[in-house]
């Protein structure tokens, strides 16, 4: 039995749009932090019978594992094949995968990132390979869920877009203890979203705003790195909120438009901006879903959580700090 723990990650600079769909090469660099309280635990049982393939998922707050024979299962099988190909392995095996999330999946909390980075580690271990961080990040990227590659290094990660499959992977920007900023995930809706981010990526370039976004990133990425280096939280925060709005403007103007936000999303954006006006520094970032990640410093976490609860802005909150990357537990 192989047990892997892998974190979701929150991107401060987002990944949206692919320059090469086949090789899963992104149109731009992205920068993220691994989440301490949002992770996937994967148990991989290997069978001699290579036709025996099963996936069991235990959802957030669910009592039991439930077998999945649908789209998620298909993806696991594809990931097994991809890993085999990547490693050039001749061996075959069957498997039972048990996956458990500490957070709601498919709700814009990068559940596919923690899942696929974990699977990459599990399958490569089962094939008898101990991949270095770079190769594990590349394999995770190839899963189809590109942002999985950022869950590999510990702490804060920088995924350089690269020019081909070998040069597109995430490296550590700083270890978890570098900066005590928190990501308070505010769960507006724990239901699964209707449009996954994979479809969205393919249409990124149908937005007339996409070229603007790429141009903006030429300044925004160096700015964010400088703010991170200086630990200038006001600068850092204002960049990530601008990045989020810019990303969602692209999504909303794609053909077909993706409106991930809800009234609950807007309430949080508005209320956090008002809170900032009153002196508590917190900034919002939103992935491909309606839930909001509120980024703040450790000293302000209690005040922000209280504010969110008092104003009934979220059904649930999950407080995260920077965490380690993929780990083989046993």
């Amino acid at each position: 039995m192989i047990t892997i723990k892998s974190p979701a990650n929150i991107a401060f600079i987002k990944y949206w749009g692919q320059s090469d769909t086949q090789a899963v090469l992104p149109c731009n660099d992205s920068i993220s932090m691994n989440l301490s309280a949002c992770y996937t635990t994967i148990q991989l049982e290997v069978h001699k019978d290579s036709t025996h393939k099963q996936l069991f998922i235990k959802n957030y707050k669910a009592a039991d594992f439930v077998e999945d024979t649908g789209a998620a299962f298909e993806k696991v099988v594809r990931m097994y094949e991809r890993t085999r190909q990547f490693l050039g392995a001749s061996k075959e095996f069957g498997f039972t995968v048990r996956s458990e999330n500490s957070f709601p999946k498919k709700a814009g909390i990068a559940s596919s990132a923690s899942f696929f980075s974990g699977l990459a580690a599990a399958f490569s271990t089962a094939f008898g390979e101990s991949l270095d961080q770079k190769r594990l990040s590349i394999l995770s990227r190839l899963s189809g869920s590109g942002s999985a590659c950022r869950s590999v290094p510990d702490g804060f990660a920088h995924w350089r877009k690269g020019t081909d499959s070998d040069s597109s992977y995430a490296e550590q920007l700083a270890p978890p203890d570098y900066w005590d900023i928190a990501d308070i995930v505010c769960i507006v809706n724990a239901e699964e979203k209707k449009t996954g981010s994979e479809d969205g990526h393919k249409n990124a370039q149908t937005s007339g705003l996409f070229p603007s976004r790429l141009r903006e990133l030429n300044d925004r990425i160096p700015d964010l790195l400088a703010a991170f280096k200086d630990k200038d939280f006001s600068w850092f925060g204002s960049i990530i909120e601008e990045e989020t709005v810019s990303l969602h403007a692209v999504m909303m103007t794609q053909k077909v438009p993706l409106y991930y936000w809800s009234g609950g999303t807007l309430n949080i954006l508005r209320s956090i901006a008002a809170m900032r006006q009153q002196g508590t520094e917190a900034y919002c970032t939103i992935d491909a879903g309606e839930n909001v990640h509120v980024i703040t410093r450790k000293n302000d976490v209690k005040a922000v959580v209280k504010h969110v609860q008092t104003n009934k802005l979220a059904k649930d909150t999950i407080v995260n700090y920077a965490a380690e990357g993929v780990r083989i537990l046993s």
Copy 2:
């Protein structure tokens, strides 16, 4: 007694941000349509006693006129002074202004545009001047509510940003009967918004996305004019929706951020996009408020209104076609 009727207008390319606050010069051209069912009627009674100045407002669906002695009254007095200065008049007079809207004010339906263009016409008439369209448009622009200048010409208007006060005014792009497109105003909330657009303009340039927006407009404005010329509604519609999202992305990233949208706004955006997928062509545009203007062709008006009503997307709808500009009724 002078009676003026002046329409609100909906901008397809929006006015946001000023290159010269004193002279009310915009950062970019804007393009609009006057609204047939959203207008202000102004009655101006002139008094010999120049200290006698009063404003009465009859709100949307209100039974009676109510005297306003606050901010709106101050603005009317300022507009009187500005008109006097603009005309170089030595005469002075007192006035009673009665203003009545056919639609909710301060809800992102350009109530200030119809009000101030109407006031410009009323006061200049009272000073004994018959301004040509260009001068009336300039005076309306100087009101402080710049977009008032677009309510002057009949039908569709193009406000060229100009280089100084004399070259920044709206001209007719096409008469009302040029194109039978409709603006279905979907009233999500008839309450007054908290932040007027005047304050917002001043902070436009604090958004990191503002330079992108101006660059985008270099292509978007000629594209919109070409789509308008060709009456290519699909092209036209997709441009106006992109323009709206781009504008609101700027607003949302200003320091202080302006989040005009609500859950109701998003529901309409999402639902109209879905309707389009099913073959009914309609597109959304949103001013500085949460209400949504759904632009469609005359043949689809019934279907869109029914869709909005059936899905309870709005409390009220107002169907507009292109209308004439400011009129001196008596």
